[in-house]
Point group: D2
Chain length 342, copies 4
């Protein structure tokens, strides 16, 4: 199996490349970059890989389809929205880690991403690959979910699917490390600014909100909106999504516990730990999501603490999980990772 990877210079691409190098079914990884006009060495393009002289090739869809059986895009928003045609036409397998194919409506994309969307045909064709809930087998055009979306949807799923909460009461206080903001240097992720600091950003405006809403509404049409805050935390990797909701009358701690068990006991990569509230270190380095839940009978509020590694389960790891599903590989292929402890 030969796979193509476009976008090795970003964090998600770097991590995906490392995963694919250890994937038992992947024989060769071909790297492409849409800014190149001739081959360049990986060691020159990404200093962190200074001992790896693999060639990075200019982006060329024909070459990609000729030399590979699938292409991963780990590019920024706004790139794959313009590149969909040849792959759709050829029905060639794509996994896109950017947000470009996650929404199904051109106007919505424009509103949240502030740039033109992919053509409607591409948006309609795309499949939202929340890998722990539905299999990408049979899909050829997979939109890999966003990091905040993954942590939040996995934390909310039992409550929403089993209709345990007031659908108007969902509040998400999500925290992310700086690698989630990408590799391009900026004031907010300058060490001097980010260190010893907490910074709320994009209040109720984060571009992962609409993909969360789409999936929640597939699960339960009563959910019309959520409150969604994102805070930048001085850590490199990891997301904690702290989720609050009022329960419906008659719901108690036992019913909530049962719901999480029901939904997650058979899922390989989601671990429900009851009232044990996971910290971020529990999952960094792995494709796991850990979830702890506390119910407060005085306020009738359930709090779910859902943690993931934003670059693995929130990006490259889930992409490999989707890849495994598409090609019927074992679910854990290439994902037998150990928590990065301590």
């Amino acid at each position: 199996m030969q796979v193509a990877l476009v976008g090795i210079t970003g964090y998600a691409g770097m991590v995906l490349y490392q995963l694919l190098r250890q994937h038992p079914a992947v024989d060769e990884i071909h790297l492409y970059d849409h800014k190149l006009i001739q081959n360049e060495k990986l060691s020159e393009m990404v200093p962190a890989f200074y001992s790896d002289d693999t060639a990075v090739q200019p982006y060329d869809p024909d070459a990609i389809m000729a030399d590979n059986q699938l292409v991963f895009f780990a590019t920024s928003a706004g790139v794959t929205s313009k590149l969909s045609q040849p792959y759709i036409k050829a029905d060639f397998p794509v996994i896109d880690l950017s947000g470009d194919l996650r929404l199904n409506d051109e106007a919505q994309y424009q509103r949240w991403y502030h740039k033109p969307s992919a053509p409607a045909q591409a948006l309609n064709q795309a499949y939202y690959g929340l890998a722990d809930f539905h299999s990408a087998h049979g899909q050829n055009y997979v939109a890999n979910p966003g990091c905040y979306a993954t942590a939040t949807l996995l934390g909310l799923a039992p409550l929403v699917k089993l209709d345990l909460i007031d659908p108007d009461s969902i509040i998400v206080d999500a925290k992310s490390g700086t690698s989630g903001a990408g590799k391009k240097p900026a004031q907010s992720t300058h060490f001097t600014q980010a260190n010893d600091n907490l910074q709320i950003y994009k209040p109720n405006q984060h571009q992962h909100i609409p993909e969360i809403m789409l999936e929640l509404q597939r699960w339960n049409g009563d959910v019309k909106a959520i409150e969604f805050m994102t805070t930048l935390i001085p850590i490199t990797r990891g997301i904690m999504s702290t989720i609050y909701a009022k329960v419906k009358p008659g719901v108690d701690a036992a019913k909530i516990d049962e719901a999480y068990h029901q939904i997650y006991d058979d899922k390989l990569f989601v671990h429900y730990s009851g009232e044990h509230l996971p910290d971020i270190k529990q999952v960094v380095g792995t494709n796991n999501c850990h979830i702890g839940v506390v119910y407060n009978p005085t306020t009738h509020t359930v709090m779910a603490d859902s943690v993931i590694d934003n670059l693995l389960k929130g990006a490259a790891g889930q992409a490999v999980q989707n890849f495994n599903q598409m090609f019927n590989y074992q679910e854990s292929s290439g994902l037998e990772l150990q928590t990065f402890l301590p």
Copy 2:
């Protein structure tokens, strides 16, 4: 003016000592420690002050009252609860930075602090010194508020006092740096564990909850309970209290904005910045609380972002503010501090 300080070995005591050294009305600071049986040099007791050979004296209430006009206690919970008698009897001014005098009920203290409370007389005598809302002038026995309590109460005050929110809907997602957990080493604050991590702790069990409830109920009897989560963040100093509530019918962004202006425009140490959401660096090194507020009309939810330096406004700074009020000094005496930027 001579002042006594008991508890120089903890973080709040260290910071308070530094503030008092620069206070224009304070001529001498006498240090006492209840673990000593003879004088010891500060440089020996607190390595961080290795160039300061000031004597630390054994704790002795008679000596304290003879040589000073006021005593600050910057001791752990469970210390001042046992030491109240002589000061109350002598009507000698006390400012207590611990939680021992903040509640007015013995059973409540026992429940939240897991140790015996101060005598009922002491609890009743004590005055809760939330310095930006009521003056400690005329008070002799001041309980200095907790750090989480200060950030949360200041963030909530306009909403609760002016009755803008559903009293059953308050959710507080509060984040604190490690200095709030005290100087005693522990697994959760070990650098190896705290770095690159977020750790939720004491869910709905933090001991600052009851003092918040007491003050909220003084402001608005309709508030019966709050959801209160505390997360340990890898920063040294600072608290961000992110507060969510559903507004009452008819309340909109303009009314909320007006309320914050009404309550805070004349307050020296509280700065309301509208929709500009303050980060923690804005206040570290100062006695200020900065508050930004965003209203989401879709979810009818108001979010307030309230930040303080936990060791200043959340401890030593507010103690000096109470001290200034008690003795009718200028409000900013000893508190003309600059934000620790960048």
Copy 3:
């Protein structure tokens, strides 16, 4: 192959356990703890492994030898010095990650470790397993090198072995993250103290100095002493050993470069990168040592920058490397790790 691991509660033990779980030749890992008197669950003993209910058994040398083919000790200094007898007597394979067997002289151990040494017989029997330089094959009693020692020896080897430097001029300015200081909480590794700080400790007194000297003298008898400073850095994992020495007359940049190539070009886990100076992130998560070297012709000084992950190459990784050598497994078995990027 069954292996025993004593000391799962410390950082090196935790990481070793994770490596062994993925080692293709290891069928079962039996955990033992010398503080237990009956079996306990790993999830109870080490909260970080809360989803792993593997039994930890009380320490019992007979059981260990009956049920396993080798024992790893990842215990603190002072433990294995008392436990050597049964294994030596039975000629049972041991890999000891503590410092107890690294020196060959009882008085030296006592001087640097401030506690009684292992019996002389054990010290003499022990083999110093600097795995990139000599194979542990045929050895049964292996002392795994210290983290600072590994980074420093690998950085110095070409200069010392090929006699390129003035033997009296070696200065090592070594920096370590806090995980090197162990899991027991202490003031110096309290987040509040370690964060935003650099702390020099044990100047010229670090217990890894004598094992470095022993190995250097095996390589080149002219080296009589080194200057060795250790600084605690606010990072979780990683060591950078910055090494300075005056070169001998006639030595220039080309000769130095040639020496590093000569020594390291065929070594799997040591990567010499010429004048590219590796940062710590290059090696964290792997068993690699990366070394960059700059020669300053004005000061006749060579500077080597040697970086490792203190818990892998500096502890558990090198232990697995020694294990592979002892049992003739492939050198990279269980060590095909990816750099933890970004």
Copy 4:
């Protein structure tokens, strides 16, 4: 007293502005920026000062000289080199925090700063204001020393001035926090890259080397060169300069101790602490330099640990110290700062 400040958008300018606001002799601070063409509010230009609406004016030397008695430049290298003429001509007091006036040779500047130097006249006119060693009184054109230079020169002074060390043996392993690298975002100071990392940069090429050499040679002509390494550390503020040198025959610990006492016992802002090795937290927030020294008789090597706050003693604090000297204010005016503890 009215003072002008050019360069409020950088870190040194931000800190200098805060110091000047509390300086008892400064009545007004006028802000200027050479990128403006009309007035702008400080709150707009520097988000960290969002509650300060002070006007920032376009750069205009005539206005500056008309409205002020002195101008501080806190601009990047390459700015003041072009702006010297009007001030020199008018003999108007200047304190320049950039490196543009620190060297006395055009070619040297060009070599180390990679840009054209100030005119020779300006270089000759400029006075190197190492404030703890010589007074700027009577000087009108002051080059404020660099941060690395200050920490290193203060650490070395007693050894070099009193001729205690082999002049060819000086090795400086200097570590700096990210604020020293300036406010402009870059890959090396991106939080994701800098956190959990150590990065050596500009080996023997740092632009502070030539100013260090100039001052050392004024003190002791035998010093011809130094080895000088700079490592970027994941902290916001602070420099630790770890200095090594071989002593001359006959020099021992007592003589070294005596030398440091002789040089520093009467200096207000330099604190020599003997064998107590200061950590960075001891000085952050102050204009102090703390120095600890350990002599190793086995290697005949002295190690000095010199720490400063790079933005205060290494920039804005020393600028105020020079200002105080120029105008005969008390040495500590505006610099009565407390260590930022814990």
